[in-house]
């Protein structure tokens, strides 16, 4: 059989070469990151367990029932570094500012902030996991340190992949999932530098570990170059903004779930003879419903314009690649559905009769649409976005 070997094909091999060493390194990073996230998760568990045994926790739980007004916190704006230090260090809210305030009072008039419903400063109670227990606090600090370490390895995974193939490391579902999980952790860590949200860590790590687990088992794809349809700088713009949006919206959804649970818990506690549930020890230590609802809103509202931009960038790319900016491809349709669902949530939050629980259900519905847009549309519906590589 005569065989035609084209010179172009040989040249193509060198162009498409994948740096196998880096690819291997990326995989090792990934497994290490998952292992350390799991350790961090257990450390968070220990923080909760030891904190729960403390008597102080029981007492603070009782205090938790009343919406808290924290005028002191607004007295002196808390430096970001201070809360980060608090996260690594003591979990006690930065209430020291109030004590120091009495000295400065004569020199510096203090602003009294109230009406938590309209100003976030007052509503940021950070939950109380440790209940002042020292061991609990130590485990909390270990958990945050481990999360940071795993985060760095996790970022290393994607960097190594990116350098191995010299392209954006989000060209298939495995890489996309890994990037989204990274952004969930990033969103948590960024939040942690600004607010006392160490209590959220245990809840954040659940979807992170699940996503990464699914990524390495079901979605895993070898390091590969991309099909021509993905050869575009829009891959950097469109997909990265979708990743950041998806990652951050995880936090919004988590806050909505916790809001619903805490709200139910408080309603239950108001009954004459409240029934205790096993997870009440968790419920009594997370922040007030108002604070959780506000967190959910802040994250969703912050991300909504970015998600809008991601969809628009996708449309511009589609115009470049397929000759039309909107063609109701299943991915486009579900992006539209997700966008409308989040728009509905934002409206619901300002509409009487929809505020509160109903708005939270909408937030979860919108997030479910996003989840389906990713897993459902990519794996079960045939469309133009069939880049899963699975």
């Amino acid at each position: 059989m005569p065989t035609i070997t084209s010179a172009a094909a040989d040249a193509a091999e060198t162009v498409n070469a994948v740096n196998e060493n880096l690819a291997q390194l990326s995989n090792w990073f990934m497994y290490s990151a998952i292992a350390i996230y799991t350790l961090a998760f257990f450390a968070f568990c220990a923080e909760w367990v030891f904190g729960g045994r403390s008597r102080v926790a029981q007492q603070s739980a009782a205090l938790d029932e009343v919406p808290v007004e924290v005028p002191a916190q607004a007295a002196a704006p808390v430096a970001p570094a201070a809360t980060l230090a608090a996260a690594f260090g003591s979990a006690e809210p930065a209430a020291g500012a109030a004590g120091g305030g009495s000295v400065a009072l004569a020199e510096r008039p203090v602003v009294v902030v109230r009406d938590a419903g309209h100003d976030g400063d007052a509503a940021d109670d950070g939950g109380d996991v440790t209940g002042g227990d020292e061991r609990s606090d130590r485990f909390g600090r270990i958990a945050v340190s481990l999360t940071v370490l795993a985060f760095l390895l996790h970022a290393g995974t994607l960097l190594a992949r990116g350098f191995a193939v010299k392209r954006a490391p989000w060209g298939n579902m495995y890489e996309f999932s890994a990037s989204v999980a990274l952004m969930v952790v990033a969103a948590f860590l960024i939040l942690l530098t600004r607010r006392p949200v160490r209590w959220l860590g245990i809840f954040v790590l659940l979807p992170v570990i699940t996503t990464l687990g699914v990524a390495v088992t079901v979605l895993y794809t070898d390091t590969q170059q991309l099909v021509p349809a993905l050869h575009s700088y829009w891959l950097w713009i469109h997909v990265s903004t979708a990743i950041v949006s998806f990652g951050a919206l995880h936090i919004g959804a988590l806050a909505s779930i916790l809001y619903l649970m805490k709200d139910s818990y408080q309603k239950r506690m108001r009954a004459e003879d409240p029934k205790r549930r096993p997870w009440d020890t968790v419920m009594e230590r997370i922040p007030t419903p108002a604070s959780l609802d506000k967190t959910a809103y802040r994250v969703n509202a912050l991300i909504f314009p970015l998600w809008t931009f991601a969809v628009v960038a996708g449309a511009v790319w589609a115009e470049n690649a397929w000759g039309r900016y909107w063609g109701w491809d299943p991915k486009e349709t579900w992006s539209f559905i997700t966008w409308v669902a989040y728009a509905a949530y934002l409206h619901a939050r300002a509409t009487g009769g929809w505020k509160g629980r109903n708005a939270a259900y909408l937030s979860l519905l919108a997030f479910a649409c996003f989840l389906f847009n990713y897993y459902g549309v990519n794996m079960f519906i045939n469309g133009l976005h069939s880049y899963s590589g699975v």
Binding site: P2, E69, R108, D119, K294, F304, G352, G383
Partner: protein, 570 residues
Amino acid sequence: MSIDINADKQAADAGMSTAPQPDKYDAGQSALGARGWLRWMWRQLTSMRVALILLLLLSLAAIPSSLIPQRSVSPFKVSEYFRNNPGKAEFYDKLQLFDVFSSWWFAAIYILLFVSLVGCIVPRAWAHSKALRTKPPAAPRNMERLPAYATWETDADAADVLAAARVQLKKRRFRLAPSTDSLAGEKGYMRETGNIVFHIALIGVLLAFLVGKLFMGQGGKILVEGSPEGFANSFTQYDDFQSGALFDEKEMEAFGFKLKKLDQTFERLGTQKGAPRDFEATVEYWQGVDGKPKTGKIKVNEPLQIGGTKVFLLGTGYALDITVKDSKGKVAYQGPVVFLPQDSNRTSTGVIKVPDVSRGVQQIGFDGIFAPTVSLDPNKGWFSTFPSLDSPALILTAYHGSLGIDTGVPQSVFRLNTKAMEQYKKDDGQPWAQVLRPGETEVLPDGSSITLDGVRPWANFQISKEPGKEVALYSVIAAITGLVLSLFVRRRRMWVRATAGPDGRTVVEVAGLTRTEGGGLGQEVQALVDDLRASAPVASSDGPASGAAPKSAEAEGAAKSVAADKKDED
């Protein structure tokens, strides 16, 4: 007590939001009359609650389109659906489920939604334009009941304190309204402006989309590499063409192009062996009737723009250069034949129709499989193992008789109608079948021959013109800008009051109010207070009445009752 606080606060709050107020009409009222009912319906339609329900309906209504094939996206899949489930398809068709986005029910939802949007946004824009011309309200009597509050005593003159406050607030770009003993400032009007811009821009996006759909025209054209006959932009030259209801054929731009060269690379190694990696078409194009030819490149993500039309590279495949001589030795066919890829390794199928044979000879038709890298499997038969031309081969069977072309009934160029044809047989009675490699010739049992002269790639181009794209893009940019403003700008008011106290000192009060969620009001008021201290230093405390501490404690007591009086934001 709480009523008093509310009234005080409402005055301070006035006009800060133009959100529609909840409907005060009761549906059960019997004496409404026809006009009353219309009014009531209009109020319902433009209420936030109905808009919310319409939004949810809109997303719900879009779902079927992702689960049931759509005519506008893949007409082939729809006809397949009709073949496989005729009963169900009939039912779905009645519900317009194959045309979700042009169905009456989808249109009803989005038209109602946009009517609701206009009905909501026009009054709000009107109210906002008035608010832009209105000064912020004067300081409320009991400033300490506002969400952020500070007070202290100073030896500075009240007028000087107010002058300093004026400078500070002006520096912060507040809109100011002075009165005798106090100063009111407001800022963050861009929030509502952004909100209105966002919603109006959405209408722009919808209109641009509709215009695009009405006036668009797009079609496909397959060109073989190096073929002298190219494409000229006229209706008849397209392989297929779709257009909107208002598309005008006469408006088609004059241009054309030829495919000079097509480079393709595929993954050679690993699990994704055979996956496409790069396609690049080099074309020679001209614009206008006598335009000079220019060279251009078209890649998958890099269309070529010619005037207002864009040319996209959608797909590629192989075409075979074939020469057929009939049994009398006449060249009956010569030229490239496009074969269509059937799998990712480019196992392709195609037919060669030879109608122009010598007098007295039957027409010939060939049915072929082409494999760029050929392999034979006992079960699958001939197939390709790689999409590049590593070891190309054409596997052929042939028919003679009437092709049926002369009957006038349109035929597919990719399918052979063998109704009036007979398959060539070998001497042993088996069907004639041959494997042809480039350069080889095979002779048919009746003496006619076929030669595979060579293999060339072809490219499938999409040529499309969709007006309104720019309007859609600008609208979307405006929408995102408006959205960012409406979500992140905080509308807030600040008041500074300076009055002479009973001990001759000046009592300074500073307060802030916002209806916007999100933190920062406390810090902002604190920053203002800190800046004001330079002009109004805190008087040395020699009595319990001076200093902020006792005031704060008193204010804290009031805070709870204010928090209890929840405000409706809609």
